[in-house]
Symmetry: C2
Subunit: 509 residues, 2 copies
């Protein structure tokens, strides 16, 4: 079972050289700049091999700047929806292992699965992740922020958390190891982006989606993205002035629904001919990009740019199913589908890492990485002893040597749930695995496997399952083994009470 | 004008010996345990000379413990209502100087004065205190938490803030110098004390009084006081593990309205014959006392008890005007009146200080101190260079030598506002000054001065203004001078547009 303990682990990781924790004083600051629902194409900085039409739609000069100053991943992945990614980021586990396979509700113990006539979701951890044993949560006693904090990091959370439902320990980022929490709770999207609307905090109208902690901006024309940026900058001051290494998790609520325009940028997108929804969406993108610029500028002004690692990523693919302007499923073109789907549009995300002196500026890599790799990578960067028995693998080796070639690694997106009303394009009861250039997809309701060669077919238009049954069988077997090893769960047929078949069982049929 | 620069300042303060900041590592931790609306008699620990009937009503074993382990002030004062006290605590200024003379509304730029036919309140700072120049706020560029933070303290705010209205910088404790803020905003009282009611955060019912940041307790049977205590204890872990001195401002929402029973303690008070309101109130007191015990136990368990100063106080006198059980204005007996009044029931509060090795256990002092003295005292304790031109005076000298006798110091409660519907017992348009054993009160609407000898007449039943006109005149003159020096404002007669007379002008009449 060589593929379960990949040989490249030793090449990738610097754990071998740093089995002991290094002193806190030598550790770099680490910033995760996490965007919500941002697609791979939602930027003027191409993440593909060339400039494509959608790249011309957006203006993200600070992402371009970051690409010039750091390493860009052509093939970085997150999960199809947000909580599974966010819980993978801080646990190092894939969603197949955490059993947090769908987004968590604000209400505890409440599954968010869309009702289905034929299939029933398995008993997944509907309340999210927790640092203590709680019902319907995945137990992670030492989430990443806690490990960093234990090692001397000042840990700051700003923005969207969405790790657990209200009433659970995981709903409060401070219970997951953050020293400071600003605006993070159980909510998955903001009630309002507008300071004028108190970000939703309006008696009589306040829902659980009202953004907490930003009271100084109430009634002001400060957009949520700006407010979070200002709070993040203010929060960094303490560790900087005390020469303590810090970890900043800046989880922007942007660019998730509701698509409310950031009026500072709106006119130019309307002038460019975008419909009002898409123009508004583009302003969410540009406001987020401005925030990135503010953060980079701040690091420079404080003289800590060289000792700060900035990691930019999104938590899932761009929304393409509904709620956006234009024709459905075109918003991530040339990638297929979008958020909620295991096709590339739903899972491939922008990822860039800037680390002066370590990461060579203006470099790119074709190696694929996943959300669960963030955990061991950050520990590796911080010089903290490795945590064993996790699904993720440190990509510090890629940061140092982007040209390295890694193909013998299974990366999984397990989503045995129904997300929403639409069932096309993998939006319901799906799973996927990447292995080398291959992508295998399982559409459970259809009891169908698909096979794609991503090197030849980025848009997943040519299913090779029929033409290459040998590869399909090999991958299905491999995949099933990993799924079972991780304790992955499958949906149940309502008429028989039996779970759907494992991928390799479809081959044997 | 000797009394404006009291000779005892040098005796009281250790500033002379510590003109330079001392190193952060040598500084003691400082905890302010601040109770809301707790009266001087709301405890089984007598703050008077003997056990009085109301002391038998309450059970506060941890306050008794603290009295055994520290210094008790028989005559400590706050302001008649809460925001003036809270802004004095962090600015060192009396309300006559800050022009924050009444409680601040959650809504910015909105005076909270009760409507009156004859008098109009002056233009006071209705939006509270701010670290930057903002309309309708008192500018305090370096509030106490900021000074402590600048000197190396890790500053934590937990609980009720109420320093500024929504949309102002002062509404967010982090802008006032706190590194961490939990549950503090513009609200002056909680929508609900119950975790089962999410402390008020219930879509459709949520008001601005819903308590923020406690989402992990939603739906649980955790009382607000417990939740805040647990969060405070969790927040202290970071500075303790990093050997950084910390300042914890634990501002309990208890025992302010709504008087919701903490059911764990209710039965015994009902069994003792208290009516349901008073029994419920007593449970708020006992829950608060339990919190004090939890904090003291935690310090001991962490081995930092000896290097931690704990200051216990309340922000104004106990409520006696309405909303309580029993006969009006008896709830602070033998003190007269209650919250909102310059009579002793409205301003005299419990104050105890525990500092092993510095403050002698089980000691008491008759020296009187005010809310504005907290600021210079804490700086003095922390070994931080004095701030000049403030109204408050350090009482570190009293902590070290409780037997010292200080009588030549004017202490003011300036309240040129109408608090509520009732106008009796000083609840509207009032001002007061303590000087030595004397207390002078100005009832502005009645254009009347009263004089009391507190040594002989703790209950302020014998107005000596007629029998001792010489002392009255002397104090009125002294008082007017201090009021004018501080820029104090007076209400305006609606019919003439003129301000009411200064105290000394009444004497000349």
């Amino acid at each position: 079972m060589k593929f379960l303990v990949p040989a490249f682990t030793l090449l990738l990781s610097s754990f071998v050289l740093s089995a002991q924790n290094s002193p806190a004083s030598q550790r770099p600051n680490i910033i995760l700049f996490l965007v919500d629902d941002m697609g791979w194409m939602d930027t003027s900085q191409p993440f593909g091999d060339s400039v494509m039409p959608l790249n011309r739609k957006y203006h993200t000069p600070n992402m371009e700047r970051m690409a010039r100053e750091g390493l860009l991943f052509h093939q970085a992945y997150a999960n199809p929806v947000c909580t599974p990614t966010r819980t993978s980021l801080i646990s190092g586990m894939s969603s197949a292992s955490t059993h947090i396979t769908n987004w968590t509700s604000i209400t505890p113990n409440q599954a968010t699965d869309y009702k289905d006539d034929q299939l029933e979701a398995p008993q997944w951890n509907v309340s999210g992740i927790s640092n203590v044993r709680e019902s319907n949560t995945y137990l992670c006693p030492k989430p990443l922020p806690q490990l960093l904090r234990d090692a001397g990091y000042f840990t700051i959370h700003v923005g969207k958390a969405h790790w657990g439902s209200l009433g659970t320990q995981g709903s409060d980022p401070m219970n997951l190891g953050f020293v400071v929490n600003i605006a993070g709770s159980s909510l998955g999207h903001p009630q309002s982006y507008y300071g004028e609307q108190n970000f939703g905090n309006m008696p009589g109208k306040t829902t659980f989606n009202a953004v907490p902690d930003l009271q100084a901006f109430y009634g002001k024309d400060t957009f949520l993205t700006q407010a979070l940026t200002q709070k993040a900058i203010a929060a960094m001051q303490y560790p900087i002035s005390h020469q303590q290494p810090f970890f900043l998790y800046l989880g922007h609520y942007a660019v998730h629904l509701p698509i409310q325009p950031d009026k500072r940028f709106l006119d130019k997108y309307l002038a460019a001919g975008l419909d009002s929804t898409e123009a508004s969406y583009a302003t969410l993108i540009e406001g987020m990009d401005e925030s990135l610029g503010n953060i980079l500028d701040f690091l420079k002004a404080k003289g800590i740019e060289k000792n700060t690692v900035v990691i930019f990523m999104s938590d899932n693919g761009g929304l393409a199913n509904s709620g956006r302007g234009g024709i459905r499923n075109t918003q991530n073109a040339p990638l297929r589908a979008g958020k909620g789907s295991p096709y590339e549009g739903g899972i491939r995300v922008p990822l860039m890492v800037k680390w002066p002196g370590v990461v060579k500026p203006g470099t790119k890599t074709n190696n694929y990485v996943g959300a669960e790799d963030f955990f061991p990578t950050v520990l590796d960067i911080a010089g903290i002893k490795p945590i064993t028995a996790i699904d993720g693998i440190s990509y510090l080796g890629i940061l140092k040597n982007p040209g390295i070639k890694i193909n013998d690694r299974p990366l999984l997106w397990h989503y045995p749930n129904r997300w929403t009303v639409n069932e096309d394009e993998g939006y319901a009861w799906s799973s996927g695995m990447r292995y080398g250039k291959w992508k295998i997809i399982y559409l459970m309701k259809q009891q169908k496997l698909e096979l794609y060669d991503l090197e030849q077919d980025l848009s997943e238009q040519h299913d090779l399952s029929a033409s290459n049954p040998q590869k399909l069988a090999e991958l299905a077997k491999r995949w099933t083994l990993v799924l079972k090893q991780r304790g992955a769960e499958l949906p149940v047929w309502k008429n028989t009470g039996k779970t759907v078949a494992w991928p390799d069982e479809l081959i044997n049929k």
